[in-house]
Subunit: 209 residues, 4 copies
DNA sequence: CATGAATGAGCATTCATTCAT
DNA sequence: GATGAATGAATGCTCATTCAT
């Protein structure tokens, strides 16, 4: 398959090259994409391994050559999306300077991750948490912490600069809820652009100077 | 049973008396409470009717004397909590006048519903939506609309009064996410009181005059 | 309930008076009638005690004040209908003399029992035999033998008189099948009267002199 | 498996080769045979899928790899037996000429189907009709019509030839009952051969010339 | 006698997982 | 790697029967 259907972002391609995440057009990559979509739509429990097999064109039994069990597929979906979005966020932060710009970049990134390509996987991350066994939860939590530290660091900077007034930890949590919930109501076809939405979210988070 | 274990709020008791919701110490009421807790902790799919039976001290088969099937239990959990919280919110609104006070009252109510007694049921309402069959979803949606109209009406008032600057519909949705997400991080035992949290949420929502 | 909806035949009333069968308008009688109808329509296994209760306007639990278990109801349906039809047949035989007339009387009686008032019960007798426990089967078999002896005796007479040519035992069995099967195709509303049908059946059974 | 346990008739084997019916020694074939036997002995409702599984040496859950549900097994039992017996009857008719011989051939075939290898399945066809859902009933009815038309056509011929005197439709129905009922009393071990029985049945049906 | 809540064993069906081919 | 038949434990639900009221 020499031709790629869709051009990956430079950062995404770099992660594929490093072997950190699966190429979206590889067998595993397509499985994870299909799993994310099905898990989002029907829920993890209601999605059968037969559903997963059918979605990628193999028998359900063959899935177990790629992943040892169904839960491992859920975990991989979550891991890959956190890793990818952490990297995308790092790249976005690297191109900004002022605290307010940084916060806007983070909001944009998070909205993009929730409402764009990785949206299904991000939704799964939020809604199917309980379906992971504890051990897997701890593993994901480590990755989540790296991601969250990018946020917290930025908000603390902004607090020191005076553009954030409330406790950064609380603010981050309120924003987490506000932004992740968009998956339940935001429609790309509507009047509101993601950029406008990002600006609105920013206006809640900071006190204009 | 002349003594009640726990004193219900006046509004709650009134709903029980009207037969709108089940008394929390009745057989059905205890079932719904247990169901909410289990559904929140393990998820609807992973909660078996045997789990439910055990939680209220009856055989699983006996559940079907009270509800025709498992989904009906989920639906009842959702319906009762919406109805109850709508009434509590109406009562709270009735005691305020200024738009800002009204918004604070709504935030308080919603936080209380998410973090207090009905917290488990509210979480179920958010996380188990997909497990309802479409027919039930429509039924709950009607109740949800009544609830949401209390919010939207108040935010529109506030916009006209100048204390809200962004589109009320978008603001409500951002707040919905921010407030419902608190269930995932807020701990009553911590330093932050619900009242403080409500104030912080209010500070995001409105522009101080 | 001083007025009877339907006048019973003299023979039927006599059996009621003797306490051999239940009066059709008594509580037990109505239950048996309803049971026969339901067992015929849905089958014994698919008929629940709740169905039976609803059909006579009581709770399913109350049935067990009248009969010790569901199977006893089935057995009573069968017993009463055999006893009743045996008596009706005896009465019919008593009014005939010639072997051919006797056979016609028996055919008429059997068709009437299958296609008339007791039709549901007779069908149950044929189709739900396996649902009886062995002990009950033996009990019914005794009653069945009395009934069958009326037939066999008459056919032997006819054989001796020359109007029947094949073995009476085999003939009776072929007739049993032919007549009981009518429940599956004969319609009172159609062109064929029961009397015509009886004549046709007779024409198969005997060799005209 | 180069050796067959039992030699199939040429006609039966031809149907297996065409894929119309399952080979009796295939997995599905053995299941259907076992199902017919159990359904006949205990009734469809009283036969559990565990019974069926045990009878063919697999777990009950594995049945659902072959048939989507229990009712489909019942339906397959009925369908296969009608198809098979229709073909056997066609073959028998093809070897006869005179109306009386044809009727005897039909009677022989039907007795053989009821009392021979497919006897259990034929009994199920008669006794478990109500356990099919309406849709399946209609499907079987189509097959039944093909079978019945062989009978009716032959009886009409015979009526025209003068050897049948009563209405062919009524005669067929009386014969259906008489012949299918044999399953309830005829024993191969007894004195009466199937051939003798067939001759007796023929003597009822026709008026000797 | 009647009620109706509760029982508890049993049912058909589902489904992640295994494994011989 | 892939297949697909088989497993076996678990699931939601049914239902005849019991029994305190």
């Amino acid at each position: 398959m020499p031709k790629q259907k869709k051009q990956l972002s430079t950062d995404h391609q770099a992660l594929v090259d490093k072997g950190v995440v699966n190429a979206p057009d590889s067998a595993k990559g397509r499985l994870l994409q299909a799993a994310a979509t099905l898990f989002k739509e029907k829920g993890y429990e209601r999605t059968t391994v037969r559903d997963l097999g059918k979605a990628v064109g193999i028998q359900s039994g063959s899935l177990f050559h790629h992943y040892p069990n169904k839960e491992a597929i859920l975990r991989a979906v979550m891991e890959e999306t956190i890793i990818l979005n952490t990297e995308l966020m790092k790249a976005a932060l690297a191109q900004t300077n002022k605290p307010e710009d940084k916060i806007l970049a983070l909001i944009r990134c998070e909205l993009e991750s929730v409402l764009g390509e990785t949206g299904a996987a991000m939704t799964v991350l939020v809604y199917e948490w309980r379906s992971l066994k504890e051990e897997s939860q701890l593993e994901i939590l480590k990755l989540r912490d790296i991601y969250e530290n990018l946020w917290i660091g930025t908000l603390i900077e902004a607090k020191e600069a005076g553009s954030v007034v409330i406790d950064p930890a609380v603010l981050r949590r309120l924003l987490t809820g506000a932004l992740s919930w968009t998956v339940n109501w935001y429609r790309k076809e509507g009047d509101l652009t993601v950029e406008q939405l990002a600006q609105m979210a920013l206006s809640l988070a900071i006190k204009p100077n």
